[in-house]
Symmetry: C2
Subunit: 348 residues, 2 copies
Amino acid sequence: MPAFNPHLWCVILAGGVGSRFWPASTPTVPKQLLPLGSERPLIRDTVDRILPLIPAERLRILAGAHLSAPLLGELTELGPDNLLVEPGAAGTAPVLAWAAAELVRQDPDAVMISLHADHVIHPPGAFRALLEEAASLAVRHRRLFTIGARPTRPETGYGYIGVGADLPGGGCEVAEFIEKPDRATAKSYVASGEFLWNTGLFVWRAADLLEQLARWTPELADALPLARAGDTEGFFRAVPTLSIDEGLLERSDRVGVVAATFEWDDVGAWDAMFRTRPTDENGNVGVGEVFPVECQRVALYTSDGPVVAYGVQDLVVVRTAGVTFVTTPERAPDLKKLLVRLPEEIRG
Amino acid sequence: MPAFNPHLWCVILAGGVGSRFWPASTPTVPKQLLPLGSERPLIRDTVDRILPLIPAERLRILAGAHLSAPLLGELTELGPDNLLVEPGAAGTAPVLAWAAAELVRQDPDAVMISLHADHVIHPPGAFRALLEEAASLAVRHRRLFTIGARPTRPETGYGYIGVGADLPGGGCEVAEFIEKPDRATAKSYVASGEFLWNTGLFVWRAADLLEQLARWTPELADALPLARAGDTEGFFRAVPTLSIDEGLLERSDRVGVVAATFEWDDVGAWDAMFRTRPTDENGNVGVGEVFPVECQRVALYTSDGPVVAYGVQDLVVVRTAGVTFVTTPERAPDLKKLLVRLPEEIRG
């Protein structure tokens, strides 16, 4: 397979808010527009990571209309033709079906790589090599491939994939998809070596996705012709909210998995900064004008004046959008429990 | 002694910065102008506390010229005649000598109560009653009285007074003045019941102070006639920096102490908020728009947008003057060690 397979396309899901990054993330400045993986926004890193493999004309960014201007403001090499504007939120099954239909209308042989705008991945070369391999396998086996990441900790916030039998030439069948497990189960998965994190990164022929949806996903089957015909509004009016995992991957017998050879993080909450940003010798990380003095394991983030921490440990301190927020790394993933307890005008 | 002894005067020392309240305290907005004891600035509380005992015309606020406008802006019932404008910082010995000389020029029999602008005292009635008693004793015994507070913890940030023999009618002689002790010594002082905190609050006949200074304080003796003559600039040019404790009280045989019957706090650093402000049922305190959620013993202070703390303990969080600052209650008194390590433009 050549380095620039002319049928290789990439869609980047960029419609989420990332509410666990409150107060930095808001509907109009969502997580993917924040510098959480490097000095630049996550979406910028995501696009740069894929561009050496897929040229801009075969790149599509999926997001609501309210994000078109901020996304194009950041991604100056892209234009309106690179946007697939979602009329509303509907879960990954209808969104990916619609994206696949859009690609098939332009290229019936399109191989579709589906990425998220807010993941951190190192090193990018290994990432691109694996996507090429998965694309080759998708064409060869006509399977829907998901990328699995080797678990490095018993994370309870991720889904897991039980790896099945080897496929000829690379990749494996999927034995099972597991929703977020409890901690003991997650530990046993990590120890066994037979489970991968479900990254939500996919590679498949766009036409194969539509065919499999027509077969396995009655919730969408009747609406698919609307998507194929380019009636985006009609399609989204007709479909329920449904995830691609529940709506198709857990049902289909034509899925596969390839194991990542790169580090992957979905940057789920503020504590992800400790994994995705360089730490100093005391385990501190920072974005913006930050001064940790005699601190250990503090994450400081500011877009609004200096943040000074003195003699504290295991803390997340955020100043942005007119709000000061302090929590622990352990509490950071539970941010939604906090938000419901705050007055609406504070929550934003 | 009548409730409004016509010779009773009050001077309030309001010239300090309170640099341990960085970033809130600055040379132009010093600690005494911040709402650290109630919803109103400390100087406002201090003046209100004394006004029922001493009318405004016998009240004097001592501070540098740069604070005249902010002080009168807060103390709207006072005017320029209530200010004693210090030409420069020189320690409490020359400042109190000068203030005493100013009072004597207006009232040779002036009894001078010297307060600090930034103390928190409860209840105010007991405070005023003790000042009246001390004033009566000062006239009767012709001694320089200091107010001692009953120690409630082995504080190492305060000076202590060893209480001597009882004086007839009330008050005691002073056995010794002790600079800030180490923790073990402070514990023994608290346990013994024979030591009081040196509050820096004084009551004496102004003329007696000048007489004692002339006798015991050669560093000032030659300059005192300048102060008596109203040559403020000349006086301050002629005197060294010297504290009243070191320069006079530790030398004189005409000092005395009365034990406070009120709660007293000098609001030395951010951790003082836990003592001077009402706490919620989890020991949290706050100034401004603050939201401690599932927190214990956190002090939150903001003049600049909400501060939200989630699931943290034993923390001080400050947002003001464009700076976000986080430390522990234990570290708060050591703030000066932090400040020297920050860039000057952050330090302010």
